[in-house]
């Protein structure tokens, strides 16, 4: 960066070209990872939402069996165990601290990660318990109680860590 060195460098046209190419490469090198990051963020948000939708779908399927009194009560075992498995993927899915863009995840998730992990563990435990209750031939009341406990874990975590409707990107 010494002024004399700089005057020497820009004296020949080829050297000037070299310097400009170097700048271009540097710019590209700097730009590439950030584009990659943006793509990652988009993909991460999409993946998180698909994972949450999968949990929601199993919850909806359990609800369908009960509200329409379908003779498929045994299937609740699998649906509940799916929820438990998907709960096991949530820690890794939410590891990246992204709360901007098309997402309803609150920044509090990463400010209080231990609490978030505990909430996930609660959901996993409640889902496993419901699955076992069905496997052991539990009656309607036992299944209902198990579902209520599981439902509370959804609500509890959403209350802390999901943006309310008025702040949701879906209602903007």
């Amino acid at each position: 960066m010494h002024p004399t060195i700089r005057t020497e460098r820009v004296q020949t046209p080829s050297k000037r070209l070299q310097a400009r190419l170097g700048m271009l490469v540097l710019t590209l090198l700097l730009a590439l990872p950030s584009t990659g990051l943006a793509q990652d963020a988009e993909g991460t948000l999409k993946y998180r939402q698909d994972l949450m939708s999968a949990i929601g779908s199993d919850m909806a399927a359990i609800s369908d069996i009960l509200k329409f009194q379908l003779p498929l009560q045994a299937n609740i075992e699998t649906h509940a165990s799916n929820i438990a498995s998907n709960a096991g993927l949530m820690n890794s899915a939410f590891k990246a601290p992204i709360s901007d863009g098309p997402t309803d995840a609150k920044p509090e998730i990463w400010q209080d990660w231990a609490h978030f992990e505990k909430d996930i563990a609660k959901m996993k435990a409640a889902a496993e318990k419901l699955s076992q209750t069905v496997a052991q031939g539990g009656d309607g009341a036992a299944i209902g109680a198990g579902l209520k406990t599981l439902g509370r874990t959804c609500g509890g975590c959403h209350k802390e860590f999901r943006k309310p409707k008025k702040e949701s990107y879906k209602n903007k």
Partner: protein, 325 residues
């Protein structure tokens, strides 16, 4: 209740006419005597105060969504003192705080008579003659029957009293002036009991009564005009200024912006569990009204509410957050 004493003289008249035609017999004497007794009983019961039943009152409490606005679940959580008030209810006009409706004699409603309780709920007038702010949804409760109200009162009286002084509203004038509420009432409030529609089924009528009186769905799910009055042309079409500043969804039968795609059983299940047809849960005040109220209702009430809601004409109205937020 008021129809009975009016009806009796007509019946008596009919019997007297019959007497002129028929010779006096033992049977007709018995019939006249019986009707005279019934007429007396009817006149007496019309003047006697109604008796509240705590078990029926619990059901009315559940129909109202557990009076959840009066418990500060939002700030004090699940262990908040039940019905002790103090819950902040933000509106476009400022913040109102719900009141203590426990039977506490000093800070609650323990000293209120049944008649004063009925006037409060049906007319929006406090025992001291002042108007209540319309954040208290007497616009819906006015439809409730006297019997349901004394039953509710009887149930509320069984709950533990809590000492907690009411908090004044944090609202700008003119919305903080109680006398201004008279003007508001003149514009937006019509007192009167709910009336059945004889052309509709019994279950629909029951649902109409529940949805629009004790369960007061329209208070949050209907948009309000600039005076804070309910826009009745948009009944149940959702509001951007719902309770606590939240969005209240469109619950008309519109299939795109409302709940027209929901099955009758989806609605019942939602009111029992808080779970929507897509498996997502509900949050905010609605989740509390379900947990502490609607979820405990008998199937007959839930089916009535769902049947009525399915019949609400569709209004295309997408509820969105204000762009300034």
């Amino acid at each position: 209740m008021w129809g009975l004493p009016q009806g009796i003289p007509q019946t008596q008249k009919g019997i007297l006419q019959k007497q002129i035609v028929d010779p006096m017999t033992n049977t007709s004497l018995f019939v006249v005597g019986l009707f005279a007794c019934l007429a007396w009983a009817g006149l007496l019961s019309a003047n006697e105060p109604l008796l509240g039943d705590t078990e029926r009152g619990r059901r009315v409490f559940d129909q109202s969504g557990g009076c959840s606005c009066h418990t500060n679940y939002s700030k004090e959580g699940r262990n908040a003192p039940v019905l002790a008030g103090g819950r902040a209810l933000s509106t476009p006009f400022g913040i109102y705080y719900s009141t203590n409706i426990t039977p506490d004699l000093e800070t609650g409603i323990g000293r209120m008579s049944d008649a004063e309780f009925i006037t409060a709920m049906q007319e929006g007038i406090a025992p001291d003659g002042q108007n209540y702010f319309p954040i208290f949804p007497y616009t819906s409760f006015t439809g409730m029957s006297d019997q349901d109200l004394v039953d509710l009162r009887a149930y509320l009286s069984t709950l533990p009293p809590v000492k907690r002084v009411n908090k004044p509203a944090d609202v700008m004038p003119p919305f903080s002036w109680r006398w201004g509420v008279s003007l508001w009432k003149w514009l937006n409030f019509k007192a009167g009991r709910w009336q059945p529609d004889p052309s509709r089924s019994e279950i629909w009528n029951r649902g109409d009564y529940l949805v629009n009186s004790p369960s007061h769905c329209g208070e949050c799910h209907t948009p309000r005009d600039w005076t804070g009055g309910l826009d009745r042309s948009m009944w149940l079409a959702g509001s951007s200024d719902g309770p606590e500043g939240e969005l209240a969804p469109n619950i008309t039968s519109d299939s795109k912006t409302g709940i027209g795609s929901w099955h009758l059983r989806d609605l019942i299940w939602f009111l029992e569990t808080g779970f929507k047809p897509d498996g997502d849960d509900t949050q905010g005040l609605m989740s509390e009204m379900i947990e502490h109220g609607y979820a405990k209702l008998p199937q007959a009430d839930l089916e009535a509410i769902a049947t009525y809601l399915k019949s609400v004409p569709p209004i295309d109205h997408r509820v969105q957050a204000h762009s300034s937020e």
